[in-house]
Subunit: 284 residues, 2 copies
Amino acid sequence: MTLDSHWFTEVCEEGGSALSLKIKRKLHEEQSEYQRIEIFETEKFGNLMVIDGFVMLSSRDNFLYHEMMSHPALFTHPEPKRVVIIGGGDCGTLQQVLRHDGVTSALQVEIDERVTRLAEQYFPELCENNSDPRAQFLFGDGIRWMKEADAGSMDVIIVDSTDPIGPAKGLFTEDFYRDCHRALGEAGVLVQQSESPMYHMDILGEMHAAMRAAGFDTTRTLHYPQPVYPSGWWSATMACKGVRPEDFRAEAAAARGFSTRYYNADIHRAALAQPEFCREAFGD
Amino acid sequence: MTLDSHWFTEVCEEGGSALSLKIKRKLHEEQSEYQRIEIFETEKFGNLMVIDGFVMLSSRDNFLYHEMMSHPALFTHPEPKRVVIIGGGDCGTLQQVLRHDGVTSALQVEIDERVTRLAEQYFPELCENNSDPRAQFLFGDGIRWMKEADAGSMDVIIVDSTDPIGPAKGLFTEDFYRDCHRALGEAGVLVQQSESPMYHMDILGEMHAAMRAAGFDTTRTLHYPQPVYPSGWWSATMACKGVRPEDFRAEAAAARGFSTRYYNADIHRAALAQPEFCREAFGD
């Protein structure tokens, strides 16, 4: 069958596939300084944000991505206090980070302020904690900012970016990872969204290699479902300095004092398991 | 954007979503005694079988489903010898079952012989082991067949069916599960494809309840990715008689003498982990 104009469709060239979501109406559209941002009201996925034609998030299923971009990294670090988010303009990752009582500062460095302003309007549930005194907002270039950051000034860095094309391209390079490595303390965790294991094993392989070349002891990919992204199977890759992914604070994760919808200690362990074809490609 | 006629599209009403795959051409189309079967050659997913408009399998990613429908159940049973597959006409599950040396008989009970004949033609890689002397084929109604089966005559039952509409509806009932329970030996495992945790929590909840009402001690849902199915996140649910899912033969799974592309002992354990919202809905 052919879908009519009541659907938003994103084509994934690498997959020879497309995902469509049924929409009620377009709520907003603008060309910001950096990109084209659209907001739709969908039939079943709540509100949807699309940037340059690519789905960023929906109200219904963003909890998967945001929980998995934050909690595994924070429970891997022995005592995360200073967290920096590069990108993450919709504030969903920031919200999850702030659920950790031990965090003393959470800085979001987003290049496009319009993403955050639109999230406040169309995804207010993700922005409820933006007035937390530990939250800080800086709108600017995360790559340049990281280059100038003080050495040893962060515990966890979360790279919550768009795909490695356009403005986010420089976030997938050895140079950037070296700056992150320097900015992290003696124990430090970097985590970055790393596309689909189904379609993007080349990107994943290059990311592992670049992170190790930049000085990180260990790299490990986390797997989780994300229905609105190509293939529905998504990943985040952790690069660790002085800590090991398998030594994460499982008891603290199990006894966390906040509610989640996807994440728990078993899911954390599960996300670390490597499918056989990934194991062959980049080890355990 | 709107997709042109070079795409096959399956709409998922429950999800308000649709998945499309780019096609090169239609290879075959027929109305069998039971259903409408189409075979396409896709751009990136190899061959694609569609039944009554729903994607059944693609050459590229069926390994996920077939490995997860077979190996967890077989490594949960202490010594699986006699395996029955209800449905599974494409022979992909049968092929995985036959990789276990200890299996002495693997019987596939498929209602529609045409599915198997078309699999032999368009998915020959799944049918390579069909001449194994342990493999048996019966074309008929699996529900009626199970009702008449000898008590205690099976170790593992795999229900590899279409969705719970049309001919497969009776496979999702307490009556059928009671027949399976009776047909299994003192130790026995039933596993059934159980739709998407993203879209079908109602079906999953009813399945757990019906399996327990039919006499099974324990039920447990396994989670895994399946890009060509709605949401990309799929499940299988195990019902156990006299064995426990968490006591699976992990050492044997790790030392299995056959190659896999997705499954391994870590992935088995990972698939058993329950997302927080599933835990709330049907326990660990």
